[in-house]
Symmetry: C2
Subunit: 595 residues, 2 copies
C-alpha cells in the first residue's frame, strides 16, 4: 500500500495515497505547490550547496555531517510524488555505496567513529524511508536496492552490539522496511535499537544524555525531553516496534509520555520545543512565546507520531493534535511561494528581521529563508506534503473515518465519498457517498462545541452514522473566533490571551509603520470579529484593544505598577500560518490583557 505507515495491526487501517484525492483548497493547493515548486527548489539548493556532489566526489565534500540525509528526504518526497528526477538522483547515490552496503559521504574510511554525533544510522533511516516509499509507489529499482543493502549492512554491523545512534530515526525506518518486505531481521534490529537506548548506549556529551534520550530507557521515561526531533522520532520508532511486536506496555508508555508532553510541553500552535539551546523541550510549563523553538521538523515529527498513535488506538485526540500542528506549524513552515521556510516557529517576535540573501546560518529568523546551513526543514516539508493524503482518512472495522477536512474524494472502508468544504475558513463539511456504504465516522475537533452532524448535536471525538450510496451528510463545525487562556502554570503566558478560530491560531502582526505590538493590550469584550474574508477565503480578525503611550525609560522594576495612559485601538489578527509573508514584522500570538 502506498502509504508511509502501514501497521500490521491497530484500530485503524491506513489508506493508500491514491485513495485520497485532495482537490484545490487549503491543503490541495499546498500539495500541488510542493510538487510543482518545493521539490525542485530543494534539489536546486542541494546541488548549489554541493550536498548532491558529495556523492559524486566525497573527497571534495561540503556541508554538515548529516547532509546525506537531505538527499534521502528529497528522494522520499520524489518517490511519493512520482517525480521524474528520482531515477537519476538515485543512481548518483547508488554509485557511492560500498560493496558491503555502507554508504556515507562523510565517514567512509572512518566508519562509526562518532556514534554520538556522526548521524550515520540517522542517514540510513532516511534512506530506508525513501526506499520504502519507492517500493510502495513503484516497485523494486535502484533506490530500493540501495536501501535494502544499507539496511542489511546495519543489521550485520549492529545486531549483536550494544550501540545505537545519537539521532533516532533508523528505528521507524527499519520497522517500515519490515512491513514492506516481511524480513523480520529489520524489525528485530529496530527493537534492539529502541531497547538499548537509555541503558545508556552512548557517551556523555555537554548537553547531557537527555539530549539524545539516552538518559532513561524508553519504556521508563515519563515525558518527551531533550532534543525535540530526536525525542519524537524515537517515539515513532517505539510505537512501530510496539505495534509489530504486540508490546502493549511499550505502547502505553509512549501514550503516557505523549499525554504529559501535550499537557505541559506543547505550544498553542502544536509546536514542540522551548529551547534554542539544545533544540530541546525544556521543563514542564516552560512555554516562552518569544523563545519557543518549535522547529518545523519537530512539528512534522509530532504529526508523524500522532498519526501512528491514531492508527494504533483510534483515539481522536491524536488527530486533534495532528490537525493543530498541520495548520499552525506545518503550514507556517513554508511560505506561500513554496520556496522559503521557517526553521524555528516562535509565537512572538519583538524585532523585525533584517532581510538577508542566501543561506541562513542560524535557525532563527522572523523571515523565511530559502535554505539553511542545517537545512533539515525544507526537505522534511517536501516529503510530508508529498505524502500528506496519508493523514486524512483511514478504515476502521465498520467503515471509513475522516480525520481531516479538505475538498476531494476518499475511497476506503467499503465506500467512496466526495467531500466539499471551505474548511478551515468556514465550518460546513458536506460528504456525499458515491459508492458502497457502511459506518462513516467524522472527527469532531475538541474545540468544536455545538457541532452538528446531520442536524444532531455531536461532541468531540468521532461522530458516526450509517450511510449508503447516494446519501449526503453534513457536518457543521462552529468555526467562530474564540478567546483562549493559558494554564496558570505557564509562567511566560500569564496575563495574556490568544485568539483561535476553528483549527487556526491567530496572531497580531505589525509590518513597517503599523502600531508597535509592544504597546498593545486587548479587551475581552467584545470578541474578535471577522473583518476581511479574502477572495481565497482567508479570514482576518480584529479585536478591541488599547494602545499605551510609551513612557520614558528607566530602571524597569518599580514600587508600584506603572500604568501609562492608553488610547482605544483595534488590533488586526491574521492566521498564524500566514505571518511573515508581508515582509519584516513584529508578531505575537499571546496578547496582554488590558487592565
Amino acid at each position: 500500500m502506498a502509504n508511509p505507515v502501514v501497521p500490521s495491526s491497530g484500530v485503524l487501517s491506513p489508506l493508500g495515497l491514491d485513495a485520497v484525492r485532495l482537490s484545490p483548497g487549503f491543503w490541495g493547493d499546498r500539495v500541488r505547490l510542493n510538487h510543482e515548486v518545493t521539490i525542485a527548489h530543494c534539489q536546486d539548493w542541494m546541488e548549489r550547496e554541493g550536498w548532491i556532489g558529495n556523492f559524486r566526489d566525497p573527497a571534495r565534500r561540503r556541508g554538515r555531517e548529516f547532509s546525506d540525509s537531505e538527499i534521502y528526504k528529497l528522494l522520499e518526497a520524489m518517490a511519493w510524488a512520482d517525480h521524474p528526477a528520482l531515477p537519476e538522483l538515485a543512481e548518483t547515490v547508488a554509485r557511492a555505496q560500498e560493496g558491503d552496503g555502507y554508504l556515507n559521504t562523510r565517514w567512509s574510511g572512518n566508519r562509526y567513529a562518532d556514534l554520538e554525533w556522526g548521524h550515520e544510522l540517522y542517514c540510513y533511516g532516511h534512506l530506508i524511508q525513501a526506499g520504502v516509499a519507492r517500493l510502495r509507489m513503484h516497485g523494486e529499482d535502484t533506490l530500493t536496492e540501495v536501501a535494502r543493502k544499507a539496511a542489511d549492512h546495519v543489521c550485520r554491523r549492529f545486531m549483536d552490539t550494544a550501540e545505537t545512534c545519537g539521532h533516532p530515526e533508523v528505528e521507524m525506518a527499519l520497522v517500515e522496511l519490515y512491513r514492506a518486505t516481511g524480513a523480520e531481521r529489520y524489525l528485530e534490529m529496530a527493537r534492539r535499537f529502541v531497547e538499548r537506548r537509555g541503558l545508556p548506549s552512548l557517551g556523555e556529551i555537554p548537553f547531557g544524555r537527555g539530549y539524545f534520550q539516552d538518559d532513561v530507557p524508553v519504556r521508563q521515561a515519563q515525558v518527551f525531553r531533550g532534543h525535540a526531533v530526536r525525542a519524537l522520532y524515537l517515539a515513532c520508532g517505539a510505537v512501530d516496534v510496539a505495534v509489530e511486536t504486540g508490546d502493549e506496555p511499550l505502547l502505553k508508555a509512549i501514550e503516557q509520555q505523549w499525554e504529559r508532553t501535550v499537557a505541559r510541553r506543547t505550544h498553542l500552535t502544536g509546536g514542540m520545543g522551548s529551547r534554542h539551546h539544545g533544540e530541546s523541550f525544556g521543563e514542564d510549563f516552560e512555554l516562552p512565546p518569544d523563545r519557543a523553538y518549535s522547529e518545523t521538523c519537530a512539528g512534522i515529527a509530532s504529526i508523524m507520531l500522532a498519526h501512528r498513535l491514531l492508527l494504533a488506538t483510534g483515539e481522536a485526540r491524536y488527530a486533534d493534535l495532528a490537525e493543530r500542528t498541520m495548520f499552525n506549524v506545518l503550514a507556517t513552515g513554508v511560505a506561500l511561494d513554496g520556496r522559503s521556510f521557517f526553521y524555528a516557529n516562535p509565537l512572538q517576535v519583538r524585532v523585525p528581521a533584517e532581510p538577508r540573501e542566501g543561506v541562513n546560518q542560524a535557525a532563527e529568523g522572523g523571515l523565511r529563508s530559502p535554505w539553511f546551513a542545517v537545512s533539515c526543514c525544507p526537505s522534511n516539508i517536501a516529503r510530508t506534503f508529498a505524502s500528506l493524503p496519508a493523514y486524512f482518512a483511514a478504515a476502521d472495522a465498520g467503515g471509513l473515518r475522516l480525520h481531516h477536512y479538505s475538498p476531494g474524494q476518499v475511497r476506503g472502508g467499503g465506500m467512496a465519498v466526495e467531500v466539499e468544504t471551505g474548511y478551515p475558513w468556514s465550518g460546513g463539511v458536506r460528504v456525499r457517498v458515491l459508492e458502497g456504504g457502511g459506518r462513516l465516522s467524522l472527527r469532531v475537533p475538541a474545540w468544536a462545541e455545538g457541532a452538528t452532524l446531520a442536524d444532531a448535536e455531536v461532541s468531540g471525538g468521532y461522530a458516526s452514522l450509517a450511510v449508503r450510496a447516494g446519501q449526503e451528510v453534513r457536518l457543521e463545525l462552529p468555526v467562530r473566533s474564540r478567546w483562549t487562556f493559558p494554564d496558570r502554570r505557564a509562567d511566560a503566558l500569564r496575563g495574556t490571551v490568544a485568539v483561535e478560530r476553528g483549527p487556526l491560531v491567530y496572531c497580531a502582526e505589525s509590518v513597517a509603520d503599523e502600531p508597535p505590538l509592544a504597546d498593545v493590550a486587548v479587551r475581552l469584550s467584545p470578541p474578535a470579529e471577522v473583518v476581511s474574508a479574502h477572495h481565497d477565503g482567508v479570514v482576518e480578525l480584529e479585536a478591541d484593544a488599547v494602545l499605551a503611550q510609551p513612557g520614558p525609560d528607566g530602571w524597569p522594576y518599580t514600587r508600584e505598577p506603572v500604568t501609562p495612559a492608553a488610547a482605544r485601538a483595534r488590533v488586526r489578527l491574521v492566521p498564524y500560518h500566514r505571518w511573515g509573508n508581508r515582509g519584516p514584522a513584529t508578531m505575537r500570538v499571546w496578547l496582554p490583557l488590558a487592565d
Copy 2:
C-alpha cells in the same frame, strides 16, 4: 596605586586597596573566604584538570582553547591578595613564553589562525591584567616582565593590521598597562582595537557578528548586545580608551548604551544576559526568569563597567547598579563554603537539580559546582574578591565618597574614617572621622526613599556634609521589605511581583518536601514580614499567599481561565544570594499575584 582601575582623569579618583579595610561583615567575610579558600581551590582544580600542566608540556595539552586565561585570572587574584603561590606559578608561565613574547599553550606553531574563536588576544588581556596587578602591589618581577613582553608582541603584531580578537578583553588590559607604565603604544593599540571593531574586523560565524560585537562600530551602537561578557568587557575597554584620550563622544556612546541596557535588558538582580544560546543579551524586554542566563562573569563585567563609568562621571546610578549586582549576582555566584559556583544565575528554577560529582560540563545548574568544563567564573570571582575594596570608596574634588557600606576603615580624600554598620541586614551606617576632614559624601541608593543623614532627609544620589576629625555622622537607610513590580513590557514577568529588602532581592525557595512553588501565588497585603533574623544577621521573610490545588492535566489552553481551589498559605523568602545552599531546590524571584 594598588587598584585595578587608575584613570588619569575623571570626576572621582580611586583609592588603593590598602586604603580600604573591610572588617568582618557581609563583604569582609567573603573577601577573607576568598583569600583563605577560593584562590587555593581554583589552583587545585587547574592542576587537576591539567590547565597549569599545559604550560609545562603543551604537547599534552588539556582543556578548552581559552584555558590559559584561567591561570592568568588566578595570577591576578594572587597578585591582589599577595598570595605566596604566585612566584612559582608565574615561573611556570614564563617558561612557556616564546622569545618574541608570544605565549599561548593552544596555538603555538599556528599563531592567530582563528581570531574569531582562538582567544589568544583575550588570554593576553588577562595576562596583562595580572601583570598590572603585580606591578602595582609588588613591583617588577617575572610576571610583570612576561606581561610586558606579551603586550609588546601584541603591539608589534597588530598595530598596523585591521585585525582584532573574537573575545574583547585585551583593550582594557592594554589601557591599564599604559596607565601603570606610561608607555603610550599600549593605549594606541587599545584604541585601535576598539575602533576596528564593527567595521567589521572578523569573519562571519553562525551566531552572527553581533555575538562578538563586530556588527556595528562601538561608537555607533545603541545598546549592549550579543555575548554578554564580550559586550561588557568591550565597553570597559571603550570607556578606558575614551577617558585616556579625552574622547567625550565615545564615553557618551557607552553611557547611552548602558542606560538602554539597564532599562530594558537587565534582570532585577542586576544580572545581564537572557539567552543560553550564544550566552547573549537577547532583545529589549526579553527577561525570562527561568532561562535568565545572567552569567556570573557577566555580573562581574557589569560591576567593572559601572565602576569605570562611576569614576568618570561621579554619577550614583552606576554605583547603584554595581551594588545590586554585587549583592545579587557576585555574592550568589559562590557558595558559603567558597568552593562551589554558579555559572548561570536564573531567577526561577522549576525542577530541583540532580546532585553530581566533579566537573560540570554545562553552564546550567540549580546547584553550585566546584568546577566547569568552561570554568571562567570561579577565577573571575577570585580576582574580583581579591580586589573588592577598590569598589567601595573614592576621592572627589572636595573629599571622600563612600559608594558601598561595610564595617571597616577608609583613608582617602583628605581624611580617614571608620564605618560601623549591619548593612545589608539593617540600614544604619555610622561613620566616625578619625583624621583630617573635608566633604564626606555617602551614597543613598535609589530604593532608599526616606533615608536620613544626620537626621536630615536625603534622596537618591550622594548626600554630602562637611566633617572634621572626631565627628561622627549617621546615615539611616530604610531597609524594609518592599514589593517590586516589573515593567509592563517585560512579557515573561507579567502578573508577578518580587520582594526586595534594602539592596537584596529575595526569592521563594523550596527544598525536599516543602510546598511546590508552581502552585503558590502571593497576596500583596500585608507586606512580607521578617520572620527570622539569624545570629549572623541574615534576615528571612514570609509573605501571605495562596496554594492552589493541582488539578488534572489536559490540553493547557482553555476557553475560560481555570482557577483551581486554593488554600491560604505562607511563603518563606530567603535572600536570593543564599539560595541553593540547602540542597536541590526549586526557586523563584518573581511570584505570581493571587487573583
